[in-house]
Symmetry: D2
Subunit: 480 residues, 4 copies
Amino acid sequence: MTRQAFPSPSPCPLRPAEGPKEACGVFGVYGHPDAANLTYFGLYALQHRGQESAGIVASNGREITDHRGMGLVSEVFNTRVIGELKGHLALGHVRYSTTGSSLLKNAQPFLVSFGGNPIALGHNGNLTNALSLRRALEGSGSIFQTSMDSEVFVHLLVRHLKNGLAEALLRCLPQAQGAYSLGMMTKDTLIGARDPYGFRPLCLGRLEGGAWVLSSETCALDLVQAEYVRDVEPGEIVLIDHNGLSSHRMETPKRKAFCIFEYVYFARPDSNIFGHNVYRIRKRFGERLADEFPDIGADVTMPFPDSGNYAGLGFGERSGIPLEIGMIRNHYVGRTFIQPSQSLRDLGVRIKLNPVREVIKGKRVVIIEDSIIRGTTSRTRIKTLRDAGAKEIHMLVSCPPHRFPCFYGIDFSTKGELIAANHSVEEVARFIGLDSLGYLSLEGMVAATGFDPPSFCLACFNGDYPVAPDHDFSKFEMEC
Amino acid sequence: MTRQAFPSPSPCPLRPAEGPKEACGVFGVYGHPDAANLTYFGLYALQHRGQESAGIVASNGREITDHRGMGLVSEVFNTRVIGELKGHLALGHVRYSTTGSSLLKNAQPFLVSFGGNPIALGHNGNLTNALSLRRALEGSGSIFQTSMDSEVFVHLLVRHLKNGLAEALLRCLPQAQGAYSLGMMTKDTLIGARDPYGFRPLCLGRLEGGAWVLSSETCALDLVQAEYVRDVEPGEIVLIDHNGLSSHRMETPKRKAFCIFEYVYFARPDSNIFGHNVYRIRKRFGERLADEFPDIGADVTMPFPDSGNYAGLGFGERSGIPLEIGMIRNHYVGRTFIQPSQSLRDLGVRIKLNPVREVIKGKRVVIIEDSIIRGTTSRTRIKTLRDAGAKEIHMLVSCPPHRFPCFYGIDFSTKGELIAANHSVEEVARFIGLDSLGYLSLEGMVAATGFDPPSFCLACFNGDYPVAPDHDFSKFEMEC
Amino acid sequence: MTRQAFPSPSPCPLRPAEGPKEACGVFGVYGHPDAANLTYFGLYALQHRGQESAGIVASNGREITDHRGMGLVSEVFNTRVIGELKGHLALGHVRYSTTGSSLLKNAQPFLVSFGGNPIALGHNGNLTNALSLRRALEGSGSIFQTSMDSEVFVHLLVRHLKNGLAEALLRCLPQAQGAYSLGMMTKDTLIGARDPYGFRPLCLGRLEGGAWVLSSETCALDLVQAEYVRDVEPGEIVLIDHNGLSSHRMETPKRKAFCIFEYVYFARPDSNIFGHNVYRIRKRFGERLADEFPDIGADVTMPFPDSGNYAGLGFGERSGIPLEIGMIRNHYVGRTFIQPSQSLRDLGVRIKLNPVREVIKGKRVVIIEDSIIRGTTSRTRIKTLRDAGAKEIHMLVSCPPHRFPCFYGIDFSTKGELIAANHSVEEVARFIGLDSLGYLSLEGMVAATGFDPPSFCLACFNGDYPVAPDHDFSKFEMEC
Amino acid sequence: MTRQAFPSPSPCPLRPAEGPKEACGVFGVYGHPDAANLTYFGLYALQHRGQESAGIVASNGREITDHRGMGLVSEVFNTRVIGELKGHLALGHVRYSTTGSSLLKNAQPFLVSFGGNPIALGHNGNLTNALSLRRALEGSGSIFQTSMDSEVFVHLLVRHLKNGLAEALLRCLPQAQGAYSLGMMTKDTLIGARDPYGFRPLCLGRLEGGAWVLSSETCALDLVQAEYVRDVEPGEIVLIDHNGLSSHRMETPKRKAFCIFEYVYFARPDSNIFGHNVYRIRKRFGERLADEFPDIGADVTMPFPDSGNYAGLGFGERSGIPLEIGMIRNHYVGRTFIQPSQSLRDLGVRIKLNPVREVIKGKRVVIIEDSIIRGTTSRTRIKTLRDAGAKEIHMLVSCPPHRFPCFYGIDFSTKGELIAANHSVEEVARFIGLDSLGYLSLEGMVAATGFDPPSFCLACFNGDYPVAPDHDFSKFEMEC
């Protein structure tokens, strides 16, 4: 193996996100006169789950209105637009594309009018048999409008609608394989559904006046001051209309497959998902790291903000190595950014995080990081710490090495992007420029969650896939 | 005193910033082929000093180009614009208006062409005799272009230019009273100047190839990888051209008047200003709070992020009360924001910071806050902590109560905005909804800085103004 | 009949167009390396046929690219966009909606990807059985993307594609009833088709290098310097690919039904359509008016610019009454326009056309107008002529009264909009404020065209509809 | 002389206007509650006098508001903006730059605040001593804000304001040399002024309720339904305030110098300027051409639309050669336009005007054109007529050859742009591609106006300049 086999550091270390990207967030309201306004706030709270596009569909029972756009919730919507989304029923979505390129027409909720009746759908997750479903539907005359895997749900659904909505869902959803937490709506019904393995979270809440709320995470319930009621169960379909909520069950496997990476990185720390609090579990990851690496020999605990903060707190407390916030975030860094001219190439590194020299100089530092995907971001940051005079730099990561791609909605879908898939821990440490590198053990990570019995999808760590992808899985977008 | 005398909580607690606003940031480069590109990065690092407008003027020695706009640096500039700002000399500015309304024509650097020669100026600070200077200049035929106090500098300057640039500056600057850290440029010269009291910071750095950098704070030197050389001294004028740097001195008073609030709140923690590191001093403010309030009786130390984090670290370490990051920031909150509809009024509160119920519930919490200006933001936040189940809430503030307006560039320029100007500590505590409230003592704050002898402007705390404002100071904008 | 039965004059006489709106224009190129650029010019020449939206789809045989937008061709496209529309094959469309509301998603060419293969379609005309076709297709699972009648063509087509493109077209087009001149394309084939009655024009041209051009009117051939070859015949389908042009025929009725209103108003005077020159025929309409109204008794012939100019020339020459251009057009009137405030209501009238008082004062004027639809525009203009001092005002119209709606692509689809449907000539004259009003006779109009034998659709004048519309014709958009 | 000495035909014959550009239009209202809305309409009517930028300043007697932008009136203003321009007093301006580059800051009305009092100015015309005035003012400390010659008026004015507004104007205006028709306003006064030679038009009108209107041309009075009162006289200053109108006189020369090119090309045909109707005079130019060229030997009279139409009518009537509108205008040609790709270079020609082949083929055509500046536009158009099959093409021009630059506000300010300055009539005819070319004689042109005694500036035809320009006239913009 030669040095060149490593991914070369990205020229502008800002654009590549500091971590992997989640597929999507879903939020819906039934029974509140300001349903769209509440949904706007709900999407704000779920913005971390998708920043490429946002959309809301609303209904007053007779008319449906919708708005979608590229960008953040705050960029896509304004007061006038929200004011035009009238009604007691609304469904919203934030998206980071995993399948379906990043175009306005692929923004969700996806809305069609069928026989004069609208159907809207927002999807979090990723299907593993979308292409074969699409080809079969086209074979009998269906014309697809987008390149999203999510669109197959709607084409399947309309072919069963004559049996009624609930029955149609029970017939069409099981044909889809893979991960899906869905929000759907018609003119008068809000629908939530979760695949039988329960890969992605989805929960139900209730507002004071009785309105129902559907949300990917509980942090959005907090924001709209809804009380958490329960999770939508794996394999469950809920329909909410003027008769209240009714629940319908698909056949489900014995095991579940909650995405553990939601705890490690994706979900907001103030959310409870899969029934447990994210902040707490992250802090326990840090405590567990302190237990697994008792001899790290550092003067200072330094999390990479903000995702490493919570494990950092746990590690600092348990290890007794004092915590310092030695990398200062520039809160005004926008998403668009001018590439430095050739001669200034190195400047970009410090834009987002600048080390406090006085804190670091001459110190043995232990960095707490949530995960390492490609290693390039860590590498550039470690260099700035060296420049600031750190004596030793160690890194502890609050999950095991990422060695396998994810087919259920996370954007590291090939091995090539994962540095640990092809390199040993020592090689990774050398690439990043560390004095030492340690990962939390798989057992330690699972134990720290406190789940009993554990029900996680751990495929990105151990290659054990709960649902096998179609052989042509990777060709989906190319062929649509 | 009745309850109504309190400021009523702002309906949308997002828009009012969490703290007072700084006037401006200045950044300049002489002697680098990508001067404007470097300046763009410098302004990025100084963005916290002003978010209303940004501008850059550049020169290649023959031609001058400029661009200004409302909004953040990342919004105002793009690659094309930066590419058109050619030359080895550039001056940039970020602004939050203190005098001069918030209009594009008031964006800085202010640029004029005089007798075919351009002069540009960026100003951090606030003059106390701007209106009388302006009236006198108009009396002899000058026409002003803006409503900024800063414009008087240029009109004064051109009337002395026949004496040469350095001499003209030495004659005109002393006519201006109050606070000013200035960056100026002509076609071929970069100029830095600081008022005789030195209210606002200004420093000099150098790039590897020898190019000079002028900056409000050292964090911008770090970003462009310039080495810190020294501060521009109070009362000093520096001219940088192809002959290098020359220094000129105005007459100065014995005492200095560094703005201590730069340490408390304004400056970035990774900057060194007035010769000392901000992070370090903030952490010592927290340690001193622990010393002054040893019996606070709390289970958890919880800083309000991010400005309270550093004092929070110091307090937690010294007091032994464990630190928790119990308020989660939504990193995607934009600056524009849809007002919730009437019935949803309360929702805005949690948009920016959401408490982690699991961390707070049933706990006695001590909040570490940098300062309290109007008290309304703290009040709404405390309410969300109560809702999350905190048992007791105490607050410690890392500076004394703000009782007097600032005339030198901070935007609390009337007593009416300062809750502590009209209310006792107990009243403030009651308004905010605290179980107890404590402020750092004036002596404690000064001592924690470690300055010897201390040379601060403490006017906002004790009313002792180093430079008296004109009687018509407050009428400036109205009359322009 | 009371005065109130008249349509009330529109408050802002600018927005309501001075005449009825045409459905659309189609333009395509096969075999030129700059196909999209040529198409852009072709659409420019056809802009009078549709100003609401414009679009171009291009193909290089492997990849298809497209761009659509609301507004004029000059607003929708720019150099960068045209540069990205690569290939030797392009299809363009300008649209004024007759069915399908005025939304971006209803802009044409309509493009879908079916089984990985793109199909694009641009339609001029209007179907009379679109709703029943749509309902039938939905019944077997098709999901429609737009509210345009044109979309049924594509859904019909894909269900026959396994038989090959030509055969599929021959099977699906006859199911559509009404008016259609179509441009279609796949990755490698340009298609033109015209309904069996030939309501709307469509012609073929050829460029110097041999490339084929398809266009609604010959004026677009002139602009791109293509030579006119022949019209696409009623009931003909032409396919153009690397093998050249092949022609296929649907079954056709004996009679044709060319829209005579294309000659009266729609088509550009420099076009030849249905085999004859428009300018010539319009001038002959004016000559015929002079023959039918020999005793008009006027001092001055005054056409309403520009649509009345050509008949005006003919009338002036034949009658000997000298022509004056007494209404001056403001060439800078934009399409958007500020409503005058309540107190200034009347001002809008003169914005577009201002009378030259010196030409009109004290004169007996005969106005030559192409047609009267609602009468409101004429009414406001006549008032300005009265104000300018005209002694008598007579009006001659170069077609008979419009008494019946059009179902084939012109936007007066209900009788309510047509003043002559409900009022006698004398009543119309009184409403408009004329001393006398005369219309060209139906026989005179047809005779003036010189067609032998005549083959026109005259339904809007005499109610004789070549193709009967479905009973639910008018509900199409409402129900989609 | 070789053929190469001719200006080469511009690649895209659209962008270069078909004729020279006028400097500006001015419009003001005093005493109407919707003054800004009226001014908006007035500017619409004056749009032909300037299309680069537009602006309106309004006052309610206490507060002044303003808006300016690049582009057409319809692009710069919208309902919201007009609604914010409150008050009974407004001044508007449309501009095509002659001095002062084409930038937003050079858009007029130019507005300054002096000692808290606003002064606004809109200028039509061009000064011949602007640079020397500017240098003198700078010498005593004035800082200029723009690169417009017009700005000197304001700097001169404020130095005399202590003497009262009328007296200040009487002292400062005579220092300016050259052409100026001015509209000015303060918070409570509308001012009109015209240079002593009266180069450019300016007139006064009155609305029904008594409000005063100031306008460059009467067509704008028509639009707002104001009655024409009289012209502002050469050398006159009028002030309109709550006391009504007062008139003040500068010293004036015996002769006047009305720009005769306003009649030939600039002014709108429906305007009366310098006391006479433009349409009438243009028609007489055509009649006079028929008298001066009786043996032209053509079958068809064909004006180049629209500027040649009026002389065309006169020529056709007098000569008996029948008029045809043989070039069809595309009314949808926008101001921005995509350059055809290299291989399509020739296409642009026909975009704006397409010949009607049926009218031209085999005919001897006489073109009536208002003027020839560079000859390139005519040349490309003549080529399209040849392609359309014209047998002979003759051209008659309704003014003499342009041989000298204009210093008073028209944009052919160097000899190089004027083809007739360097070439004989025969050479021009050959360059354009004509069978013959004839110009109206100077005497004929003047006689056709019917002025007695004539009082025109004829400098662009005969080089006789009423006011000599400064030697550094041409350097103005470069040096500002």
